[in-house]
Symmetry: C2
Subunit: 331 residues, 2 copies
Amino acid sequence: MTAPEILTEIWRGDILESVHTGHAVICDHKGDIVEAWGNPDHITYPRSSCKMIQALPLIESGAADAYGLNSEHLALACASHQGAAIHTDRVSKWLSGLDLGESDLRCGAQEPADIPARNALVKTDDSPCQYHNNCSGKHSGFLTWNKHMGHGADYHDPSHPLQVAIKEAFEDVTDENTPGYGIDGCSAPNFATSVAGLARSMAFFAGASEDGSAREKAALRLHRAMATHPELVAGETRACTELMRAMDHKVAIKTGADGVFTAIIPEKKLGVALKISDGATRASECTIAAILVKLGVLDPAHPATQKRLNAPILNWNKVNCGTIKAVDSLK
Amino acid sequence: MTAPEILTEIWRGDILESVHTGHAVICDHKGDIVEAWGNPDHITYPRSSCKMIQALPLIESGAADAYGLNSEHLALACASHQGAAIHTDRVSKWLSGLDLGESDLRCGAQEPADIPARNALVKTDDSPCQYHNNCSGKHSGFLTWNKHMGHGADYHDPSHPLQVAIKEAFEDVTDENTPGYGIDGCSAPNFATSVAGLARSMAFFAGASEDGSAREKAALRLHRAMATHPELVAGETRACTELMRAMDHKVAIKTGADGVFTAIIPEKKLGVALKISDGATRASECTIAAILVKLGVLDPAHPATQKRLNAPILNWNKVNCGTIKAVDSLK
């Protein structure tokens, strides 16, 4: 088994303060590995980086069209949003259109990461609700599927027909049997796969064609929705939003908790997946930016890139104290 | 060179989701290594974990006594506090007693981590100030030294006599020549040392006697102040505060940014230092708790311990999704 390799270095002054190891894979649409770092067979949870896979049944079942979902809804179904008004307003309206409400969600309440939304709650002594949960769009997609299919309310239960359908889609696009699932932050099951399997699934999305299978057509709609609405997939200041904008809406990327990142690059029919061994976001963001630059789809000089790749570490006085640096092997 | 070793495992379901490697050393008061994990010679920045060393000149110079500092002041001088009212009120009063104010600090403004203090600022549309900076107590100690000694206002400059005095003390108690410094989050220089050197310095504090040198007497006052006032060293819900209370105020411990933790155990004349390679706090807290349990000074059944050592990972619905687990070699 190949060990993880160092992908990100944290320099402070002339001393290497911290290092992040991990595994990363670039895969083509035939499912072959183009390039890899660390161990492609390393098993991990994709966490939120696979939300576009979890949204496949929403379209394939006919639910999305039956309820008139547009590309904004689909982007939210794939989102880890930060609970800003642009997210919660849309989720609330979406659910009321289904004659459902906040209490039908099963994701739990989460304080919004969006500062204006957070401050609005503080000022009115309000508590965050399930609409603010970063996964409320994904769960609204789940509820839409469930309304259409008529199954039980606990759509997040691993034995619920929705999760069975997600597992089938997940194993199909990763081309692997999942070794199991964990329970995610939003209480939905999250199926494990290898980093190569996750990259393979992203390459499936990247290679999906208008003329392809129903699954390919669904994949195409989902990654296009993500790239079309970067602000709905995460939010202002966030890596997914800023980097998708920097790539002119041509590439869909998605972060996942505990150091995961995925990318779908249709123009090259390539998929990317990476897992930082220790789960650090600063390293997953630096590494995905480095790989996107290497693949020629992200401008290294763009401010959104420079905020993550070889980015300065600023202190409370805005003094430059160090650098978050990608290793040379990512060049 | 010995590689870092795995110290903390992050389990979700039946799958190992993430791992944290690092270096840890237990040292006795003679400066000898009692036990080590990873590489004792690994060079790192102690960051805030060495604030008690940075406070030695405050006492040794006579400044602390000249300005009537009590044990609360000394605890704050060693603190990474969370900007709660109990911290900022004391810092403000301390500085006004020196005929100084907020603008004399050089640490920068920082949003308080204390939720009530943060919400109070939001509700009044106020911005955080330098009093809220987690290092404002350390900097108040610096200003006290500087007032007593009569040097220039930029006490954080690496060439300032205060920082020269700190470097001398740092090299003395670590018994190493520092390979250099980095600029810390609060703009003060932070001198590098080996993990063994940092543990050795903590053992110096642990072995300090009433009958010892002026430096020993200063060290004794500082670690006693920390253990006497755990709530001033960090704040409610924080690891330093909760674990020092759990150890009946008999042990002083201190966290540092980017995965550092130190401990001073006077009853055993032992010092502990650890550095998590990737800088993760969840791993530094789990590891220091494991070592303190191993050394018999922390009850593994105490709720403060169980919050960090083999702690459950709860999601937004409070569902138990996994465990933050110390490796067996720490038992």
